[in-house]
């Protein structure tokens, strides 16, 4: 492997990692608030891809992007209202099973409505522009993905740490009963969290699918799983952790494929999960779980 090839691989890895990070943040936010692993998150990401295809077909692209973001956000809130909020006081396991149910529902609904034939993802003007620097050849979207990801994370950290809504979110995540006694509107805060998670999934979906040009009903499942691992790796519940986890998984995966071990690239991701759970179950930035009596 020469230097140019190394740079090319690094670029690929960082770009994939950026997309993973955006999805992983969705897992982390929801887990932080509800202690729920939202297994449907990867499929929301996939449906966002279909939203883009259909809105792009009838609308000019800036509006199509906005429509996609709005629809995906509404989908996330809707799923929370229908499948999770009635189970607010049920055991955590029931909510998790409900989440798995939603995941399969979305996949099969997509297969039923759009067939398993991969649908072409629209080309957003400018994003697919090919850029060549020396021997390195890449597209504009590959370059901007990590930048957008980092900007979003900075904004998100500001939102969570400095605003009133963020304070409410943090309060709910600590102890939602106490928070609601203090006058925080529980349902509103949870909906808001799902809205942000889904919005990020939509942004991630636009960046991810622009680079991969097709959407099919199962295109959300593997990225979803990998990003879940990324979130656990970084410490589920922690936003910087999810960012780091996403980049880590993306870069490692690319390196493994680059050295000719594609066979193990997926296996590696899940080995990371197991090893992390064995040596540091709370992840890199996870909070220590202190059981209050």
């Amino acid at each position: 492997m020469n230097g140019m090839q190394f740079l090319q691989h690094a670029l690929t890895g960082i770009s994939v990692g950026g997309c993973y990070a955006l999805i992983a943040i969705g897992y982390t936010l929801v887990y932080g608030i509800l202690r729920l692993i939202n297994f449907a998150h990867g499929d929301i990401f996939m449906i966002a891809g279909y939203f883009m295809i259909f809105s792009f077909a009838v609308l000019p692209f800036p509006i199509a992007i906005i429509v996609t973001l709005v629809l995906t956000t509404l989908l996330g809130i809707g799923i929370e209202k229908v499948a999770y909020s009635p189970l607010r006081n049920a055991p955590r396991m029931s909510v998790m099973i409900s989440a798995i149910g939603v995941s399969y529902l979305l996949q099969n609904l997509a297969t039923y409505l759009f067939t398993a034939i991969p649908q072409p993802y629209p080309e957003i003007p400018g994003l697919k522009l090919r850029i060549e620097i020396g021997n390195i050849s890449t597209s504009f979207v590959t370059l901007i993905t990590p930048i957008i990801t980092i900007l979003i994370v900075v904004g998100l950290l500001y939102l969570v740490n400095k605003t009133k809504m963020g304070m409410a979110m943090r309060a709910v995540s600590r102890d939602y009963e106490a928070a609601s006694l203090m006058g925080i509107k529980l349902n509103q805060t949870i909906s808001f969290t799902f809205a942000i998670g889904s919005l990020l999934a939509a942004v991630g979906s636009i960046l991810y699918f622009t680079d991969r040009s097709t959407v099919f009903p199962y295109s959300g499942s593997l990225p979803g799983l990998k990003c879940f691992v990324a979130a656990v790796f970084g410490g589920i519940g922690s936003i910087p952790g999810a960012l780091l986890g996403g980049f880590f998984i993306g870069i490692c995966e690319t390196i493994i494929k680059a050295i000719g071990l594609s066979t193990f690239s997926d296996a590696f991701t899940f080995i990371v999960l197991i090893v992390m759970l064995l040596i540091k179950p709370t992840g890199l930035f996870g909070e220590k779980n202190i059981d209050k009596v």
Partner: protein, 401 residues
Amino acid sequence: MKKFLSLVLTLVMALSLVACGGSGSAGKATSGEKVIRIGVFEPQTGENGGGGIQEVYGIRYANKIYNTIKIGGEDYKVELYEVDNKSDKTEAVNAAQKLIAGKVSAILGSYGSGVSIAAGEYFKEAKIPAIGCSCTNPQVTNGNEYYFRTCLLDPFQGTVMSSYCKNHGYSKVAVITQLGDDYSEGLGGFFVKACEKNGIEVVAQEKFQTNEQDFKAILTNIKGKEPQFIFAPSSIATAPLILSQARELGITCQIGGGDTWENGTIIENAHGAAEGMVVTTFYEANPATATGEEAVFLKGNGNGETATGFSDYLVNVEKQPKDIPAVSALGYDAYLAAYKAIEAAQSTDGEAIRDALTKLTFTGVTGDISFNSDGDANKNAAYVKEVTDNKFVFKEIVKID
């Protein structure tokens, strides 16, 4: 009350099961006419769902044209019994058992060799002949006297592609295959073997996982080896990704695939990156010179939904684009083979139909079809098509010795 209700519900369910079991094949249908069932073992969902359903279209169309059969002087209605094997080897076994329980007389399918191999043993045990449409791996029919097929074989396609490279003077080639996929590894393996024989150097052999969406890492490695041709037999979901990511990385050489790649969705999904790619294929529609069965397939038989040919049937009945996928033609031929064999056997019994298949010779849409001792169709040439101006254009016929 609740107990009573659940008891009633249980009874209802049990009764409905009994009712299901009652409606076996080769018996009397409700309208009083006799029915013979042909099973359709195809993926309609999952990884290969897109291609599988295209085969089903061809089969359904053939069923509409040849819908009754005379056995022993009595008219039998031919009924299709479709099951979905979900592109999954475990699901394939369930689907196969469903077909056997449904008492079908013959089975058509499947798209994807892996599921056919998984189900083959069950068909053999139940003594029901199966006719594959586009499953090209040798293991499908090897050692299974109940499996036949109407298409070329993997080794053949890989060898054809290698001959194509030789004819065009390529001396350095690369191969990309999908791990654990019998079709992809089959074609790739035979391509490599044939290249060694033809004196073509294989500079890179890369593999990827099922459902992989990022090929940049392996493509970057391939780019460094500077091949003149990349052979990447894989699914239609994978093709546009490999093509567009290769072009994005600045790989300019020709890229080729197997028969699965001959699919309009790839051109559409690759956004222009498919230009110049080549595929081997089983069938080339040419309405101008079509005669016999091909004319029926392309121009219809003047009746109802099949009046004006398969292309119109796709648009009007199945709500699909009008381009004819090669696998639909193979599906049609597989149905026809089953139909003719039943006619020749004059029986609904699996063993009799199998014996008839071994002796069968007929002209289908994709040419003359007879089966050799392995159950494979006798063919020795393949069509190579190239994408020009976003269309598959017939390029040349490649023959092998």
